[in-house]
């Protein structure tokens, strides 16, 4: 079943074409990688899926329903969570509060009942806290629960961001360069987590990645972008050997 369908998406910034006619399909239950040199439009594509950038043309469908043009805060409600290339955490809040915000869209209470902290709010908060604890366990963040995010090392911040995205309980998880800025051990951890998220939690993953080792290890399918267009799409092994991809990454053969 196709979970996310991107069809001829166009995006221009002024005169610069960031995406021209990008199409790809993400199958449910798979890990799908997007590769490409710097400036190929990978992150732009993510921002288009999230509704942060309005697209100039084309359609994005999630579970068969069109999501192009939806406000950014409505996208996660459909079941799409994401992380950012250079972590976007709430820097002055604790790790717990960061992850708890992932439960925000599941809340059933409103401002007034929260101000009075009615029993319904208390119950909901305890349930949220329990859910968060599962994720803290899953990603081994126990030692950092009460720490302020800004003072944590970058690798931990990345895990916190992943934890926050998982707290949403999404169906599709967008990971923007999960391994950038991580050391080899942390990268390896991330690969294992991606496998676990896919296998145990049944979450479909779309990731942008530069590290080809990570891509080969986790992704079943890969799409290669260059200058805003798809140059190859298919099984990771095939895309890796595709002459266009090799040309885009390594340059023309002498």
């Amino acid at each position: 079943m196709v979970l996310l369908e991107i069809q001829d998406v166009e995006k221009q910034f002024g005169g610069l074409t960031a995406l021209s006619g990008v199409s790809l399909e993400v199958e449910k239950g798979e890990a799908h990688a997007i590769i490409g040199p710097n400036g190929a439009g990978k992150s732009t594509l993510f921002n288009c899926i999230n509704g942060i950038y309005p697209v100039d043309g084309g359609k994005i469908r999630f579970k068969g329903k069109e999501i192009t043009g939806l406000a950014p805060h409505k996208i996660p409600k459909l079941g799409i969570a994401r992380t950012f290339q250079n972590v976007e955490l709430f820097r002055n809040a604790t790790v717990l509060n960061n992850i708890l915000l992932g439960r925000y869209m599941h809340k059933r209470t409103h401002l007034l009942s929260e101000t009075l902290f009615l029993p319904s709010v208390k119950k909901q908060e305890l349930a949220a806290r329990r859910k968060v604890e599962e994720i803290v366990d899953f990603l081994d963040l126990q030692a950092y629960r009460e720490r302020i995010v800004a003072e944590l090392p970058f690798g931990i911040q990345k895990s916190v961001e992943l934890a926050r995205a998982l707290a949403l309980e999404p169906e599709l998880l967008l990971l923007d360069e999960p391994s950038s800025g991580l050391n080899p051990e942390e990268t390896q951890d991330f690969c294992f987590w991606i496998e676990d998220i896919k296998e145990e939690l049944g979450i479909t993953i779309l990731l942008v990645e530069h590290d080809m080792r990570v891509v080969t290890e986790v992704a079943e399918r890969t799409t290669a972008l260059d200058f805003g267009s798809v140059i190859a799409d298919g099984k990771t092994e095939e895309v890796r050997r595709h002459p266009e991809v090799i040309r885009a990454f390594l340059g023309e053969e002498g």
């Binding site: 915000l101 925000y104 869209m105 401002l111 929260e114």
Partner: protein, 359 residues
């Protein structure tokens, strides 16, 4: 060294994580309740005023400290609260206990009216827009004589509960203390619930907040409305305290005082709001008392007090950006980890990793 072993999730939600905290706050409350027995009218009056400012700075701290939306127009909400009470009790003759909540509601509605057009603004531009709102309200107060009494202002009586009149300074002091306690509790509730987390999320990263499903516009408007409500109630308490409302009480200088309070006290924290409000109120009294010690050429300058505020603000931003509350936390930490504290524990480390923001 103090370590809290948490056994249930409920312990994360508790207002007082340590039993000792409860004892300390109980002691504080007792001291405040017994204070009128030992202090004269002068100090009771000042403490009442400080209490009212506490409610304002709690409200402003939700907007500016937690949500990151600066406002230089809070004197206007304060004025709306004060005049609402003045108009409803003095001119319409309603009960104060109906007028006070309505004062909050009136301010909240005007907060909504400011917030919706101000949604697209941030930082300096928002400051200017809210300042403009402050000036508009100031003008309206002077011109709308039927409601506000124009430049003459309105006389306002202190309220009564049944046959018990709160006309004495002491009884009014107790009313204000009770209100401060209620608003501290409400603010604490906000900060430990999803709404409070959404405020902080909007401040720290708008993009991330949106991708977590936080409706940016709605949350910003909520922050404005809540903040204005607090300030309106404070205004409604302020008017009967001085038995009078006039246009002179609600100028831009007052708005700046509110900002100074929360920055000096500590942005985004309940403690900070209280520390700041009490500190600034007492500072202005201290300046008044010590006027004789200051050389004449200085004390007769126009705006001497404002200059002192400015100096205090600058010193805090330079040396203790977390305000009095930051200093307080460090002191507490020193005792908690007693033998392990180092001089550099809180030295600020410069970090260069900064995220690119998609705005």
């Amino acid at each position: 060294m103090r370590f809290k072993l948490k056994k249930t999730y409920m312990e994360d939600l508790k207002l007082f994580p340590y039993k000792a905290d409860m004892a300390w706050y109980g002691l504080l409350l007792m001291t405040l309740l017994l204070f009128p027995l030992v202090a004269g009218h002068y100090w009771i009056y000042n403490l009442t005023l400080a209490g009212i400012y506490c409610i304002v700075s709690l409200g402003l701290n939700i907007l500016t400290g937690s949500t990151g939306q600066i406002s230089l127009g809070h004197a206007a909400f304060f004025a709306i609260g004060a005049y609402a009470v003045g108009y409803l009790t003095t001119i319409l003759g309603w009960s104060y206990w109906i007028a006070l909540p309505l004062a909050g509601v009136a301010a909240a509605v005007s907060g909504l009216m400011v917030a919706v057009p101000a949604l697209r603004l941030s930082g300096l531009y928002l400051a200017i827009a809210t300042m403009g709102f402050g000036f508009i309200v100031e003008q309206v107060i002077v011109q709308w004589k039927g409601v506000t009494g124009g430049a003459n202002g309105l006389l306002i009586n202190r309220p009564s509960i049944g046959s018990w009149h709160l006309t004495s300074d002491n009884s009014y002091y107790y009313l204000v203390i009770a209100m401060v306690a209620i608003f501290v509790l409400l603010t604490k509730n906000l900060t430990r619930s999803p709404a409070g987390r959404a405020f902080v999320a909007v401040r720290d990263s708008e993009v991330a907040a949106q991708t977590m499903g936080v409706p940016l516009a709605r949350v910003k408007v909520q922050a404005f409305v809540v903040s204005a409500f607090y300030t309106g109630i404070a205004g409604g308490l302020f008017a009967p305290l001085i038995n009078f409302v006039g246009p002179d009480n609600f100028t831009i200088v007052e708005s700046i005082n509110f900002i100074v309070m929360i920055i000096v006290g500590g942005l985004g924290s309940v403690h900070g709001s209280i520390f700041g409000a009490v500190f600034i109120t007492l500072l202005s009294e201290f300046i008044r008392i010590s006027k004789d010690l200051i050389p004449a050429f200085l004390r007769e300058q126009v705006g001497f007090q404002t200059a002192v505020y400015g100096l205090v603000l600058m010193l805090f931003i330079l040396f203790e950006p977390m305000g009095i509350y930051g200093r307080w936390l460090k002191l507490k930490y020193l005792f908690q980890v007693f033998p392990l504290y180092r001089k550099d524990t809180f030295r600020r480390v410069r970090r260069f990793q900064r995220s690119e923001r998609t705005r």
